[in-house]
Symmetry: C2
Amino acid sequence: MSNTNPARGMRDFLPVDVRKREYVINIIKEVYESYGFEPLETPAVENIETLMGKYGEEGNRLIFKILKRGEHEKTGAADLALRYDLTVPLARVAANYKNDLPKFFKRYQIQPVWRADRPARGRFREFYQCDVDAIGSGSMLVEAELCAAASEILQKLGFDDFIIRINHREILRGMLNAVGIADEKQADALVAIDKLDKIGKDGVLKEFAGRETSEQAGIKLLDLFARLAAIGNINTISTLSEFIGEDEEARAGLDDLKQILEFTNLENIKIDASLARGLSYYTGAIFEINVPDLAGSLGGGGRYDALIGMFGKEEIPACGFSLGLERIVFVMDERNMFPADLQNSSADVLVTIWNKETIAESVQLANDLRSQGLRVLLYPEADKLGKQFKYADSINVPFVCILGETELTTNKVTLKNMETGEQETIERGQASEKIKK
Amino acid sequence: MSNTNPARGMRDFLPVDVRKREYVINIIKEVYESYGFEPLETPAVENIETLMGKYGEEGNRLIFKILKRGEHEKTGAADLALRYDLTVPLARVAANYKNDLPKFFKRYQIQPVWRADRPARGRFREFYQCDVDAIGSGSMLVEAELCAAASEILQKLGFDDFIIRINHREILRGMLNAVGIADEKQADALVAIDKLDKIGKDGVLKEFAGRETSEQAGIKLLDLFARLAAIGNINTISTLSEFIGEDEEARAGLDDLKQILEFTNLENIKIDASLARGLSYYTGAIFEINVPDLAGSLGGGGRYDALIGMFGKEEIPACGFSLGLERIVFVMDERNMFPADLQNSSADVLVTIWNKETIAESVQLANDLRSQGLRVLLYPEADKLGKQFKYADSINVPFVCILGETELTTNKVTLKNMETGEQETIERGQASEKIKK
């Protein structure tokens, strides 16, 4: 007997779990398709060079690497790796099939990714990302559509209390410049700011001090964030405009955010100057969706105009948004947001077996019921009728269709309603209609 | 610029490919659910001990292994691996959740598996298996249902020329005994027989000779197979019955096959005594589905009553069938079996942008059309109208909805049919109906 658990940080999804996940995935697909996004799938395994160096230092460390095979296995070297996200594979695809893809390529992709993170409550080593990206345009209409589509998905799932926070890498850079943080220290400073929610103000200040950025700069930034927290988007823009001064790229970033706000009619979108996002490939607007009862985000994304250029001959502007399936399912479970019928039995009716000689007749009845659109479980063997009922009960199947000695000679069936216990003997042809009712 | 191809033996699926795959997957799901099978998903990554030693020698060699992480990476050792099939993970699940699963557990699972095989035409290192398994019963009704469900799927996909070949590991053992092959040589002999289709009679005889099994035994077997090729199931059973003599287990195997035939009303099911199946975990009936224009099979499976016992405390009977998504899609593509509308554009209509000042109005129009059930592409930026038409043309979108200067002031839209070239100016509210027609 061996260890039968899934590998550490990974999960098995039993039928009711799969149904919940598919319920969410289907709504995501439906909304993304209504915006003209098309499905894409890429392999789980990528050449290791494709992934390394795209996610920053921490990302590199968390990549699962695959050993070379055959005689090379003993070198201990890796040539392949499991994908870490869906954005880098998309950038590779956009460069590789440039001539086959439309000028503006809008794709969605719903697949698992793998990260060798320390497993924790709600943090897994295999999890699904539901990504949507638009490639080929630098227009802020792209950002606006991504936010609108993500928002529509959450609404359709039943969320009414989420907030989309938006910010911009150029504004962040402008703010860091304004408090005197040198270019080469800015990546570290962003990592610190990114943790504000988790480690609090004191934590951020410690990180600033520890990373040899000035603590004074940190205090100025935290003070700015505090001032912005309570004011609306319009006042946030004017306050930020003052803070960043004449920095042209940062001002252009502010203009980007103004346009995004103009192009959506979302009420729950909020500029948050402290939003940093961890990944190193973002170049423009960034966003994140949060609900009050979850520490992390339900999703996030941003513009990454330089990533495709790392694979292809030319830079192609791109922007994307990723929803986290696990977190959405987790919150929906906690809040009891799934439709009740997802929990129901996998079958509409169980057909019984009378004895070994009559199996073929039960097979025929089951097939007839299936051809009328029912999901039919056939008891797999000749057994006492009581056992067959007990099994039907254990799986919550609503009806049992009994084909016993009398029924076999009269071409009838006895239909038992498992909830009420009532049973009646009827013509075979009537069974499916009674069950559907 | 770096290598932008997918890793060797792996593939990217562009939108039209994904749609074809989903078309097949949806029919598979629908049929399996009508038989009362429930969805299961397991992680791509398993503990390496879970997989090793379950597939025979060749299987072991083809497993992708994942390097340990952090400070252990430099040891070159692997602790995890990519799943090689969906059957072993199911056996692990069946043992692990024994108390949560129903007495008879019928599950389907449609997920990718990975094998470090030498890539070739139609052979990939990542491919999808569509598995269906019934756990908990030794009844041949299980085998019969699996064959019937697989058959129904292929019919619904449009196949009318497939054959289900069935055989039995105990009959194979009985035949090998009858020609005098010792127990310890039988696994090798099965591997040789399994290749009959690929390497022909001479090839099989060579393998017999090379593996120190008697060539004479090989000749007797090949002669038997030749005699059986042209006769029906009933004569096959009597010929085999004679060949295996008094071997009780082999005779029970023959009884199993007789029952499978009795419990299905399939006309295209054929006993094939030369069918061996590669995997080592089969213990009873085995099956395979073939079409004339494909060298390999579209799917196959069998009974594996001992596998779950390798994980759990007790042996639990089980039987499964696996359809190969790639091969089904390949043959359907070759035969042009996919519905034409899978090739269509991903959107029903493209909404144009007049200029930078009117973007928000186009957004509103796109949202209105979406709320009426249409898939709407919004051109992402202000651009010459000619360019917007050219883009619409390149992606084969059937309608363009123009919101120009006049339309904006009159609250109308101009709808252009991209196929006929006709265009008419209509009330905004009428647009969705016209497009749906």
